[in-house]
């Protein structure tokens, strides 16, 4: 079923068991983003130490795609340098813009290549990018600190 390419098991698994959920008590920067068309919300805390993302925690509510995407993103980016995070973020954005023509680079994106199927559903691309947009914003703010 076409639907199964959207709802990959690993996506639903992150949705049911979100990683890094629950905000850290301290942070270098905190951002909150909403998806105005559906009301999905996320708050993201970043702790930056010597150019390394030592902690990325979040709170939020929304559909399986938006929540699983944040969960996987925080998994992927924690412990990475800002420079590495830039490569990963770009790779994910390219995948989501691919309209189903790309399988994604598992070396860079690991489990997040499961979102390749989402890129075929134009209505859901925005959901999958919510957390990543928040991260971009948070990284800029953290660097400015």
């Amino acid at each position: 079923m076409e639907l199964d390419s959207l709802y990959q098991e690993v996506i639903l698994d992150h949705y049911k068991h979100p990683q890094h959920k629950g905000l850290s008590p301290t942070f270098t920067a905190q951002v909150s983003h909403v998806n105005t068309s559906c009301g999905d919300e996320i708050i993201l805390n970043i702790i930056l130490e010597d150019g390394v993302i030592s902690s990325l925690t979040w709170e939020g509510q929304g559909c399986s795609i938006s929540q699983a995407s944040v969960s996987m993103m925080t998994d992927l980016l924690t412990g990475k340098t800002l420079e590495e995070s830039g490569t990963i973020t770009k790779s994910f954005a390219d995948l989501m813009a691919s309209k189903g023509t790309s399988a994604g680079d598992p070396q860079i994106l690991e489990d997040a290549v499961a979102f390749a199927g989402v890129s075929k559903f134009p209505g859901r691309v925005k959901c999958s990018l919510l957390g990543w947009m928040a991260f971009k914003d948070a990284a800029i703010q953290a660097q400015a600190q």
């Binding site: 079923m1 076409e2 639907l3 959207l6 709802y7 098991e9 639903l12 698994d13 049911k16 068309s37 559906c38 009301g39 999905d40 919300e41 509510q61 929304g62 559909c63 399986s64 795609i65 559903f121 209505g123 859901r124 959901c127």
Partner: protein, 418 residues
């Protein structure tokens, strides 16, 4: 003649197509926009094919025919709404959103001494269940003029809380703008007490009739309101055409909103005077083919009979609600019986996010809307960030309702597998 949605469907070409690999189209999103019968599609294209010209201008046969068609549509709307002042009280806009903004901006243009002029001494009243189109224009007018914005709250059983009517509609209230039927809850608001209280204190009553004009017989005189707005595209008509109705004496005093061609009487380099209503409010070349299409849509609805349309929807809503109530884990966000309620049914199931529910329904050929439905404050007050919404109309039948219920059960299974 008994009402037959099966026969109605035959008039709508879109039902000849299938969805998602050959599935029957179950269209349950008429609250967002309705499908169009062939007569409407043809009326719009015939205008372009045979009569196209700028109305109220050109000294030629086409201009005459175009004007006749456009003004004919205005007359149809006037009859449909029971306009006491006839066609002259009907203003064509591009949408209900524009109609409501027209009122808010025009009031903002009112000079001191004009009955519509607002200051910090005045109050504007809305409700917590407004669509953003009938909230933000007033919220922003309040910010511009200093007038206080106040609102009726919504009770846990999805009704307006009218207990505090005298504290909400105070002596200094000038505008009361409310929705006739909620686009989320389906609640039909009782108007008599609100209209009575508003008029007692000298306020005008504006009705957002987007979700009622398409679905029930409307008689503006019987409703007692002063202005009414609706969109053509939710009433089987084209997009790009909306209506504002108002009492002539009020429209006369209301300043214009959009300025330009066709709305003037005399012009010098430094001043202008206004054409009579309705031209005063129709600056520029209007959406002519769309107005003609709306006329055809209202003719089609009149052919079905608005009482029959309403009875069909109430009956079908009852059928759907009864079936939905048997689904474990469902919460209907809105009245759970058909008393003062239209065919808009919002719901949540278990903790499956509405966007995911909608995606599953779509895979079964079922079109619904998900989200906060442009009524964010209402969603917050009902304690649901988002809902799935099925909205019924003339072409829907029990087969559609059964398909929805089966697919909801399917979604529970699909997302429950983890």
């Amino acid at each position: 003649m008994t009402f037959s949605p099966t026969d109605v469907r035959k008039d709508f070409p879109i039902f000849n197509r299938t969805i998602r690999d050959g599935k029957r189209l179950v269209y349950l999103d008429s609250g967002a926009t309705s499908q169009k019968p062939l007569s409407v599609i043809e009326a719009e294209s015939n205008f372009y094919e045979f009569h196209n010209a700028a109305v109220h201008r050109g000294a030629h046969q086409l201009a005459e025919e175009a004007t006749d068609a456009y003004e004919g549509a205005r007359a149809i709307v006037a009859t449909f709404l029971g306009s006491p002042g006839g066609s002259d009280e009907i203003i064509f806009t591009k949408s209900a959103t524009e109609s409501l903004n027209l009122l808010a901006y025009a009031m903002g243009n009112a000079p001191v001494g004009n009955r519509f002029a607002l200051s910090s001494k005045d109050r504007i009243v809305v409700t917590e269940m407004e669509h953003h189109a009938n909230l933000i224009p007033w919220q922003q007018l309040s910010a511009r003029t200093g007038a206080e914005l106040s609102w009726f709250k919504v009770t846990p059983d999805s009704r307006l809380d009218l207990n505090s009517i005298d504290e909400v509609i105070t002596a200094n209230t000038k505008v009361v703008s409310i929705t006739h039927q909620s686009n989320v809850l389906g609640t039909i608001n009782p108007l008599a007490a609100i209209v009575k209280r508003a008029h007692e204190v000298g306020a005008i009553v504006i009705l957002d009739a987007c979700q009622s004009v398409p679905h029930m017989r409307i008689d503006v005189k019987a409703l007692g309101v002063d202005f009414l707005a609706f969109s053509g595209h939710k009433a089987l008509g084209p997009t790009g055409i909306g209506v504002l109705w108002g009492h002539m004496n009020l429209l006369d005093e209301l300043p214009p909103f959009l300025f330009g061609g066709s709305m003037i009487e005399t012009v010098t380099m430094t001043s202008a005077t206004w054409a009579p209503v309705p031209q005063k409010f129709e600056a520029g070349v209007p959406n002519m083919a769309q107005a003609v299409g709306l006329g055809a849509a209202l003719d089609y609805l009149s052919g079905l009979g608005m009482d029959e349309v309403h009875a069909h929807e109430v009956e079908l809503t009852g059928y759907l609600l009864d079936k939905m109530k048997t689904i474990p884990g469902i919460r209907i966000v809105g009245p759970t019986n058909t008393l003062l309620r239209g065919g808009t049914v919002s719901f949540t199931i278990d903790d499956i996010h509405p966007h995911d529910v909608g995606q599953y329904l779509d895979s079964q050929g079922i079109a619904v809307r998900t989200g906060h439905h442009c009524a964010w404050p209402l969603a917050k007050c009902m304690l649901v960030p988002a809902t799935t919404r099925a909205s019924l109309y003339v072409y829907n039948d029990e087969v559609d309702c059964d398909a929805l219920v089966d697919a909801i059960l399917g979604a529970q299974k699909y997302f429950g597998r983890f």
